[in-house]
């Protein structure tokens, strides 16, 4: 690697050619504060507008200060990072941001987890010299996301996520000067935009401008209602991230503590979405095998590749942008919704409770799930299969409110029958997991042979688009994986053009999959947190005694007792869905 010599804060150092001043400083133990900058390096996600001007430094020979995040080091550069001039400029810039920011930290959803708050603290700002008018905007609440853009600091991270990474284009900067803010086009509400509710904007927002809709007050009321039986399901990715909210190392697996905490909170039944993930594999795997068999038998009408449909933001995405391809994805509902349907139609009867008195709550790493459970097709006579969904962050708050010392909780198990799951279902939580789980089952069902090597290493990793061929006993099955909607768009366009020879594709809306979902503890731009969760997911899989969905005894029992067979009539009614053309987004300019 070619290096160059620079001098930074009176130290002569050598840094790789092409490094920015910020990178060079960090390599040499100098922490230049930043605000708008965000870099999830291995995931191709970078926000570097050079807009906040917090990271300014002095470069010898340069007239004005330089933003460290965007300025490349040149041979012989002499850099100072904390002269009086810089400290004054940096403090003034942060004071300016604060002067146009509501000072309601005490009641802000991001309090204690806000990058602007931390920065103000680090710089020791005790007063705001330049007070003046504050920009105010309308509050916007969608089914999943709350926009309180009075708190927007124009870092543009959300815009970058929504446009560059996700290619959704729901959010962009509008207005000019002091009134400039990030919003949907024409300042419409998010609900009228093409927002998929993936929540990646929320995941990167440094302040309280973008947050999740808080469903915990409703939950607390329902738990206290003696007429209600409250059931909870927890998604696979929650258990490898929840611990972070309690000071644990990223990647700590807290499945047992989480189950114990949920029971302490007062849920009547603590179940697992993983169970429904196994059910998803049975349904989606059967659908895949059916299409594949028909295809191999020469059926020209069959739609291949089959696309997964577990991710509600992804479903929204193709409904908005590729409605003409809506017969391609699997019709299988997402695990959250399969769980809801089984809980309300099977479990409620089993325990003799009317479905209206059964409250099904999900704990999800995701914000789109809040929207998904409100979709009309997942309701029976107005009663939703899943009443509402809370995020990992909301669960952490709930645990704290319930006076539970999470770190000291003994491990507990999920309840049965909807709490038993396999390793295959756990890996739903990360990119590549769903398709690996499907491959484990499909292989055995297709070939009639036992799968010797359960780990499909070729399907794992964090590369945005991956392809691998799996050998189904002589039949090569081409599998594709995309995470991040921008990557999904690329694959969809290939399929549209007929340039794709894949049989099955897994798509997750969030880069990294559910482990990096919009409802997870905030990573604040630290990619190592996401990687630690990724590793933990596979570790949890490895520790499971059963690792193939079709071997889950409670799944077998469910089919025997209730559903009949995968993709059968009852399954079709309860576990499958259909998609809509949402390409026409309503525009109404007031």
């Amino acid at each position: 690697m070619e290096t160059i010599k620079i001098n930074i804060d009176n130290k002569n150092v050598e840094v790789p050619k092409g490094s920015t001043i910020l990178q060079a400083a960090r390599m040499n133990g100098i922490h230049i504060p930043t605000l708008c900058y965000l870099n999830l390096d291995d995931m191709n996600i970078e926000n570097k507008p050079g807009g906040c001007r917090v990271c300014v430094v002095e470069v010898e020979g340069r007239k004005n200060l330089a933003p460290a995040c965007a300025t490349e080091c040149l041979e012989g550069m002499v850099i100072k990072t904390h002269t009086t001039r810089i400290l004054n400029a940096r403090r003034t810039v942060v004071e300016l941001i604060l002067s146009d920011h509501p000072a309601d930290c005490l009641v802000c959803a991001k309090s204690g987890n806000c990058e602007l708050q931390t920065l103000a603290q680090d710089l020791g700002i005790r007063q705001i010299t330049y007070k003046g008018a504050q920009s105010t905007y309308r509050m916007d609440t969608s089914p999943s996301i709350v926009r309180d853009v009075d708190k927007c600091i124009m870092c543009r991270r959300c815009e970058m996520m929504c446009n560059t990474v996700q290619t959704v284009g729901a959010l962009s900067a509008i207005n000019r000067g002091f009134e400039a803010v990030v919003a949907p086009a024409f300042e419409q509400d998010l609900i009228k935009s093409s927002c998929t509710y993936c929540g990646q904007c929320v995941a990167v927002c440094p302040t309280g401008a973008l947050t999740e809709v808080d469903h915990t007050p409703q939950l607390i009321r329902d738990l206290a209602d003696p007429t209600k039986t409250v059931v909870v399901q927890t998604a696979p990715a929650v258990r490898v991230a929840l611990g972070e909210e309690f000071g644990m190392k990223p990647g700590t697996i807290v499945t047992g503590k989480m189950a114990a905490a949920l029971r302490e909170i007062g849920f009547d039944y603590v179940f697992d979405t993983d169970f429904a993930a196994d059910l998803t594999i049975m349904e989606e795997g059967t659908e895949l095998l059916d299409r594949l068999t028909r295809y191999l038998n020469g059926d020209k009408e069959v739609k291949l590749p089959i696309l997964t449909s577990c991710c509600p933001a992804w479903v929204n995405f193709f409904e908005y942008y590729f409605p003409d391809m809506r017969d391609v994805p699997s019709t299988a509902r997402s695990p959250q919704q399969m769980f809801g349907a089984i809980a309300k139609n099977y479990f409620a009867k089993k325990i003799g409770v009317d479905r209206k008195d059964l409250v099904v709550v999900s704990v999800m790493p995701c914000l789109a799930k809040k929207y998904e459970c409100g979709r009309d097709e997942f309701k029976e006579n107005g009663d939703p299969d899943v009443n509402y969904s809370i995020s990992t962050r909301e669960l952490a708050h709930l645990i704290k409110q319930s006076n539970i010392d999470f770190n000291k909780l003994p491990d507990a198990d999920f309840d049965n029958p909807l709490g038993e799951s396999t390793g295959a279902s756990v890996i739903f939580g990360t990119t590549g997991g769903v398709i690996e789980a499907a491959a484990r089952t499909a292989y055995e069902l297709f070939t009639g042979k036992k799968l010797e090597k359960i780990d499909f290493e070729c399907l794992r990793g964090l590369e945005n688009i991956r392809q691998a061929t799996v050998d189904f006993n002589g039949t090569p099955i081409n599998i594709g994986i995309a995470h991040g909607l921008g990557s999904a768009r690329k694959l969809l366009e290939c399929i549209k053009k007929g340039e794709c020879n894949l049989h099955a594709i897994e798509i997750m809306a969030c880069p990294g999959g559910c482990i990096a979902g919009g409802g997870q503890p905030l990573h604040h731009g630290d990619a190592s947190i996401i990687k630690a969760r990724h590793t933990a997911i596979y570790e949890e899989d490895k520790n499971k005694p059963i690792r193939k969905s079709h071997e889950n005894p409670y799944i077998t029992k469910l089919y025997e007792e209730f559903l009949g067979k995968p993709c059968g009539e009852l399954s079709h009614h309860l576990l499958h869905t259909h998609y809509f053309d949402k390409s026409k987004v309503e525009i109404c300019i007031e």
């Binding site: 906040c52 001007r53 300025t71 300016l96 003046g132 124009m154 900067a173 009134e179 803010v181």
Partner: protein, 597 residues
């Protein structure tokens, strides 16, 4: 080809058109036809003459008679007297304000004497909608020379040698810019002409496009040849309909003549030009913002590097120059770099066009050699201050330039001197102020503009300028403190030091320069709560002098808010808590009894 005895040139610039120069042309033609003279006298719509103060202007050739403030009704007398009888129409001639003498030849007017026209060379001399007229004045001669006799590098070297610097404001050496774009690898490159003249006081780019569009087409083509581009784009504000119209005509004519398009002049070099319309955002004059706007994105600047020469339009190497810069190119090629470099000051070569405005006698567009002093421009070309008032300041460089004073009058105008004096060249706006101007209000006025025009991307410009404006507003309302003045200074310096693009980096200039040059006035506002120019209403008090008041009640009857009380034949009093400072009482008082304090 017809030969005419007389040519009547009527200014068809936007300003003169607004004063019905089209009506003048129509009437002139009618009058000629009535006398059957249409084959002897040709009426031509020309570009701007620059002396907008006196528009509409009609010039008669060959005797070079310069008629000012002509109306359509004057057409008959011009034809009858000047054309038919050969007598000049005295009342339409320019009157020298000093000597009160009529001057008929523009060459002898103070306004034109000190000027040297390079960029505006053809403006006012040709019909901009007729390529033949342009060609008769050497248009496309330089293009032929470059394409057929020069290599791209030798043409770039010529521009480098001329010392030409960007006229858009930054003053970056043009030849060097071309060289960077030329050396950038890639076979898809772009030449962009920045015609987004955002400074509300400047209109030289518009005048050049309206008066001599072929010079821009020619220069862009030369640039394309030099850097290896085949597509040129003119980013022009949509508020310039006449410039757009004439540019389109010129483009069509150039294509028709084989001066644009495939295989120009048989050289094998192909180049064409497209137009892109801007929506009038000031920040889109910044080259990266301009490029983003052309790409269909939000018009906001991005960090340089990468410079457009490396990654510009559609991420391809792009050379962006301003209209006035391009207008200098053909003449440099024709007359040579040495000739151009012989004009101007040591580091700023050639001439610069200024839009002279404000409290000055001769408002208009002027072009002077670099190094001309402000005094020469204001007093000799500009004809001094209107109404014989005292000169107070001159603001150069557009909304984000600085205010210079008496002590700067003998400063030779060039890029470096203006920056050293706390202002800048900018686009070439030059606004003169007199004793009636309050410098705090002036600073506030300019800040209002930059607050409005900030794109909002970086904190210092988005919030900082807003806060600067708020502090200035507070001071003009008489609520300022000395601490505010300290804050004003610190904040201005930080904005300059930290803002992302040229707009933000220069927006505090009006504040800093007025603080430097008119500190006393700021202190008066803050400490004495006084505005010496009588502009800041909140600080004014209308007071009735009991000695002079005779109790006629006229003021009380005219006060719209009933703030004045008093018995008949007794001195009246103004209730300051009610008074809205409209001044109606003062205007009405026949005894001069009402004073402003």
């Amino acid at each position: 080809m017809a030969t005419y005895k007389y040519h009547i040139l009527v200014c068809g610039g936007t300003g003169c058109q607004a004063s019905d120069s089209a009506g003048i042309i129509e009437n002139l033609k009618k009058e000629l036809e009535a006398r059957n003279l249409q084959n002897d006298v040709q009426v031509i719509t020309s570009g701007c003459f620059g002396f907008c103060e006196k528009g509409p202007i009609v010039k008669i050739m060959p005797d070079n008679t310069f008629y000012v403030r002509v109306t359509p009704e004057d057409a008959a007398i011009i034809i009858e007297e000047h054309i038919v009888k050969g007598r000049k129409v005295e009342r339409l001639l320019y009157t020298d304000p000093e000597t009160q003498q009529h001057i008929s030849d523009s060459k002898h007017m103070g306004f034109y004497q000190k000027q040297l026209r390079i960029a505006l060379n053809n403006c006012g001399f040709i019909d901009p909608e007729n390529i033949d007229e342009a060609i008769s004045r050497d248009a496309y001669l330089a293009l032929g020379k470059v394409l057929l006799e020069m290599t791209p590098q030798s043409a770039i070297d010529e521009i480098k040698k001329s010392g030409l610097r960007g006229r858009g404001g930054g003053g970056f050496p043009t030849g060097l810019k071309w060289e960077l774009a030329s050396k950038s690898p890639g076979d898809e490159k772009y030449v962009v002409c920045n015609a987004d003249e955002g400074d509300p006081g400047a209109f030289m780019d518009r005048s050049i496009l309206e008066g001599d569009p072929h010079s821009i087409i020619e220069a862009m083509t030369i640039c394309g040849y030099c850097i290896g581009a085949h597509v040129g784009l003119v980013y022009i504000r949509a508020e310039y309909p006449l410039a757009i119209h004439r540019l389109k005509i010129a483009l069509d004519q150039a294509r028709e003549y084989g001066l644009l398009g495939d295989d120009i002049l048989g050289s094998g070099f192909s180049f064409d030009i497209e137009l892109r319309y801007g929506a009038g955002a000031f920040v889109c004059g910044e080259e990266t913002a301009l490029i983003h706007s052309m790409e269909g994105h939000r018009g906001e600047p991005t960090f340089k590097p990468p410079f457009p020469a490396v990654s510009g339009y559609l991420e391809k190497p792009t050379n962006v120059n301003n209209v006035e810069t391009f207008a200098c190119i053909p003449i440099i090629i024709n007359k040579g770099a040495e000739w151009f470099a012989s004009i101007g000051s040591e580091k700023s070569k050639g001439t610069k066009v200024f839009a002279l405005a404000g409290k000055i006698n001769n408002v208009g567009l002027i072009e002077v050699p670099m190094g001309t002093t402000l005094r020469e421009v204001i007093y000799e070309i500009g004809g001094g201050i209107k109404g014989g008032k005292e000169f107070k300041a001159v603001q150069t460089g557009g909304p984000s330039g600085g205010c210079l004073t008496q002590k700067h009058l003998d400063t030779p105008i060039d890029y470096d001197n203006l920056i050293a004096a706390g202002s800048m060249m900018g686009s070439g706006g030059m606004i003169v102020m007199d004793e009636d101007d309050c410098m705090v209000s002036i600073a506030k006025f300019y800040l209002e503009f930059t607050v409005e025009e900030s794109c909002g991307k970086c904190t210092p410009c988005r919030v900082g300028n807003k806060r600067l404006h708020e502090i200035l507003d507070k001071i003009t309302k008489g609520e300022g403190t000395m601490e505010d003045l300290d804050n004003l200074k610190n904040l201005s310096k930080v904005i300059k030091d930290t803002a992302l693009c040229g707009l933000g980096q220069t927006s505090p200039n009006p504040v800093l320069s007025t603080i430097d040059n008119f500190w006393d006035e700021y202190v008066e506002h803050v400490v004495d709560k006084k505005c010496r120019a009588g502009v800041c209403r909140s600080m004014m008090r209308y007071v009735i002098d009991p000695e002079k008041c005779v109790g006629c009640t006229l003021c009380a009857r005219n006060c719209p808010v009933n703030a004045i009380t008093g018995e008949r034949k007794e001195a009246h009093v103004i209730d300051q808590s009610i008074c809205i400072k409209c001044g109606a009482c003062k205007d009405k008082c026949k005894f001069n009894a009402i004073e402003i304090k």
